[in-house]
Symmetry: C3
Subunit: 449 residues, 3 copies
């Protein structure tokens, strides 16, 4: 039965959160210097332009977050309002929170500097709970989702700081810190919210129809075309172009592989829209951590082939197995699109890092593997870097993914426990995967027409 | 009954208009100098590139106009061809007309200079009649709409010239000159075309279905993600980055607020897709006029919260009241998405302007408040500007919106009178809100499938 | 009857192709120099940025290829999975192949240089078989399409090399080398695959429904808004801005004309979605070859008016005639969107070229008409160019389109013959225009909801 009361208090809490954000912005956030008018004597319009040179890539990422994720999740035939609407709601809340959270970790003089980079970082952070939402799609209330996202983004910011600034791993496209974190956090929540063993069947509204599947392809294609922007936006120097090229090739190879493997393993050798909508993108995830490295075109293509294969096989065999045996439901299969491909990316990063010599990256070593600066091929430290050698860096890459998994799963278990056992309203089985619980839905549908 | 004759003559008139445009282009329009080949001795490829540095933002605005507006209006379940089609038709006609109209106001040596800026301005001008179309959606013929748009854009260009060049108000994102003008012009037309008092009920085809609502979300999300480009494209210097940041934050805050307020005021506390599709964007309108000013992040967030609240309350209470009491129908609720948020923006601009000191904007005062140049804190005029002081500028901002409302409403009443009382064909009540009157619609729908 | 066996072997062949690509990338492809880390002493971040200054236009083209083409073809009511899916599959395969093929034609030191330009060229190449696919839509298996595309892209690369590098014609937006080639190749294949004379009726599933027509408008509008990027991406110097302006104006004029002519010639003077979806874009094709020339705004508008008119009349009269008399089916009407407008563009290029004087293009003559460098108005050769004069260049333009048609039609006949008479599985009449043959399609559709 519908209990409006609990909704109302949840929404009011979210409004209070928004007002707290307002106060925090007022107290702590200031425009960065380049976004302030220059003194009259130092007029220089050019530098302002250069400062926002990443604006087109930012806009691509905006499309990925709001249209890409939103429409990718419209494949459920009775959950399209929620897919597009909650994506908008969650992303709008999270971007503000991410500006604050990531700002607190990099304050200067007690103030957070607001710049184009802040909102690029915020959009990337928004991807994290959206990935988790994919695992849970249709099985939570919006209040549960939104509260989860606030906690998750704080934990994400902390883990990212640990991985990049403390452990000094490379993760240009965020496969470790964003994709693996979001996927395994979401899966851990899903495990906590798993159904009783007598309710382990698919929800009666869980599934696509012809039109909802085509709506989902809007999401897929926009994610596909703009993924090079996501992976390259934080790359510096020539790494930006490599990130674009490697991501493009990996996606292309993963796509071809996805179609082939989908046809080979599916019922009657027919193509499966779930694979096409999702596994085609696995190449973008799997190349993420290493996208700015000297993979070579063949390296990128190889990663794409592996990712497409693993992802389709995951959808075909692993997900049903997890559902059957662990009652671990994963509505969008984020484990196959984000989880496993991110693990592939982490492993690839260890392999590539283990073969790095300082000469390879010349002036860019500082940006890409800062901890290796000062390693002149021996273990001697020079020039102020940590002088980490290649195998050591490879080890740190693996340590980075391990820590990320630990924190993500731990955080997800905690979040799931709170969502399940505290006063949050939970959805009953037959309330799942349909908009009607939380949305006004047109009633007369199909009748008068 | 269908009277094809009147259609034919209307379409022929539009073809003649197109041919007149051709002649005017031939007589008056020339490429700007930077779009002409440089003499051999002065070869300089770099400058040409810099000249089109706003091209990515132009493309974002193109998406807003053609996809954003077009799909936002597909929410009517039997009017999707018209929503997307007339948007394309109207925008294609208006952009040409706007290049000419705005060109005539800024001719040099009897010629209009054609540049990237011309077509950016033209796309912005196209937003004006598209906003008005939202108020009228489904209740006019395409011929009425197109003819209206030609008149409206000419009046818009004149009003914009008056507001920006004569009154010298600031309106970086166009909330006053574009959103308020388009909304109140459209509402004035709607008032003139209002139904007889015995036909004041909603049209029988007026309403969404499940799929049309999701199509509309394509429009919403693209408008959302690219709105920072719309607001910032005409900003100069560091104002560009502020416009991006402020717009982004205002949209995010308006979105969170929209969801919360929608749930709180709606039937059974369920979310309403009309609010989600529209009020989430009110933050972009409400921050428009002031987006390049030194609002601070908190200023932008505050404006977003106010705009989201006002917009949802407008949809919930004001629009039904206007329909009931004034027979003022507003199909898309442009009053709530464009009208009132634009008023908020104008008021905000007066408040912010009243607190400006010349030191705040340093070298950018000339761009942002040109009439205040020469005001050194007293009323003494120096340095060639008008030396307008802060309270005076605030007064001009309010005068600017007042004049705009007057011209828009006057123009709309005139246009509506012409559309109603001259030989234009008008739609009968039961012909409204459906494509069939003007489009070939597949007949067998749903049967054989 | 469904014969899965033949599918399986086809898919396996495509996987082998993907693996061959992997090997070729490994053997031959290397990052361009600017995508490699700079030596420490020569640190210069700026140059890397400038090198990828066309990245935003690349992304626009990505949207055109994957979303634009994909969704434009979703108008068939039972073929939306195939339209969006095969577009993704084909483009992902072709972009890799195009990097290799075009690379082999421009190798340096036995290696192919991989750069942003490579993948821009690859995306453009992907348009070619996608255009052909439009002619064949619904009447081939995916295996036939994919194999066709591999052959077609190789032939396209050869013809393009011939036209641009040997014949030295101008074709900035690719109307000759891309649009005419793709359209006539596809039509030639369609002619080879034409039905027996007792099966010449429209397929029973061939047609749109209300929702599929709106999906198709997503494709139309994205192609419309980003077409200036497609036409301008390879332009240099001030030609880039001219290409943007001319394409924009031509599209606008074609759109207005399309609506008018559609209403005038259609049944009951109602607008036809097929025209709106396609002929509005004819202006982009028809201005393609000449988009960077000094057309003047009126030249661009005139071309748009002609293209819109020809395209609508083609859909209304020519296509049915071809179907009836030659049994030449053209599902999307690519002859009207790409074929005839490309011929218009070629003719326009001859006219414009015939009037060129060396003074017109100053320092840009080298880029635009390299063969005319050294023509000082007489036939005397100076400065190392071929010294081709204006009428001669005009002749070459016409020769270029003639050769292209010959190669495209010859290649299409050959490809069609192979697809029809070898061991490829062909679709029977009643298997056409529906996804079910090759896709898992939700069965319960509409029932439980």
């Amino acid at each position: 039965m519908h209990t409006p009361g609990s909704n109302v208090s949840g929404y009011i809490v979210l409004m209070i959160v928004q007002i707290i954000f307002l106060v925090l912005f007022w107290l702590f956030v200031r425009y960065e210097k380049a976004a302030l008018p220059a003194p009259i004597e130092a007029e220089d319009a050019g530098s302002a332009n250069e400062h926002v040179s990443k604006y087109p890539q930012f806009q691509d990422i905006q499309v990925m977050i709001f249209i890409g994720f939103g429409f990718l999740m419209t494949f459920l035939r009775k959950y399209g309002y929620s897919a597009t609407g909650y994506t908008l709601f969650m992303a709008a809340l999270v971007v503000q929170w991410a500006v604050l959270m990531k700002g607190f970790l990099h304050m200067e003089g007690g103030k957070i500097s607001l710049s184009l980079e802040s909102i690029i970082d915020a959009d990337i952070a928004a991807a994290v709970p959206l990935i988790s939402m994919g695992a849970l799609l249709g099985r939570t209330t919006p209040i549960q989702l939104l509260c989860m996202s606030i906690f998750e983004v704080a934990l994400f910011a902390a883990n990212e700081y640990l991985a990049l600034n403390v452990l000094s791993i490379c993760d240009c496209g965020g496969s470790i810190t964003v994709h693996a974190f979001g996927a395994y956090f979401g899966l851990a929540v899903a495990l906590m919210l798993r159904p009783a063993s007598d309710q382990n069947d698919a929800g009666k509204h869980e599934g696509a129809n012809y039109v909802s599947d085509i709506f989902a392809m809007i999401g897929t294609t926009f994610l596909w075309v703009y993924w090079p922007s996501f992976n390259s936006v934080l790359a510096e120097g020539s790494g930006g172009e490599r990130a674009i090229l490697n991501t493009f090739l990996s996606l292309a190879a993963a796509t071809v592989t996805t179609f082939v493997v989908s046809a080979l393993v599916s019922h009657e050798n027919k193509l499966d829209m779930v694979h096409v909508q999702n596994s085609t993108l696995a190449g973008g995830v799997a190349v993420g951590t290493v996208c700015n490295l000297l993979l070579g075109a063949h390296g990128a293509v190889l990663i794409g082939i592996i990712a497409g294969t693993v992802s389709v096989l995951g959808y075909r065999y692993l997900t049903p197995w997890l559902t059957r045996n662990l009652r671990l439901h994963d509505t969008c299969g984020v484990h196959n699109l984000h989880g496993m491909p991110a693990l592939i990316s982490a492993i690839a990063s260890a392999i590539v890092a283990s073969m790095v010599t300082p000469d390879d990256y010349q002036s860019e070593l500082q940006d890409i593997f800062p901890a290796m600066v000062g390693n002149n091929g021996t273990t001697t430290k020079i020039m102020g870097g940590l002088g980490r050698n290649a195998s050591s860096q490879a080890g740190y890459q693996l340590f980075g993914i391990a820590v990320t998994l630990l924190i993500a799963i731990g955080g997800g278990v905690l979040a799931g426990a709170v969502m399940k056992y505290t006063s949050f309203r939970n959805l009953a089985k037959d309330e799942q995967h349909q908009d009607e619980q939380y949305w006004e839905v047109p009633a007369v549908e199909n009748k008068e027409e």
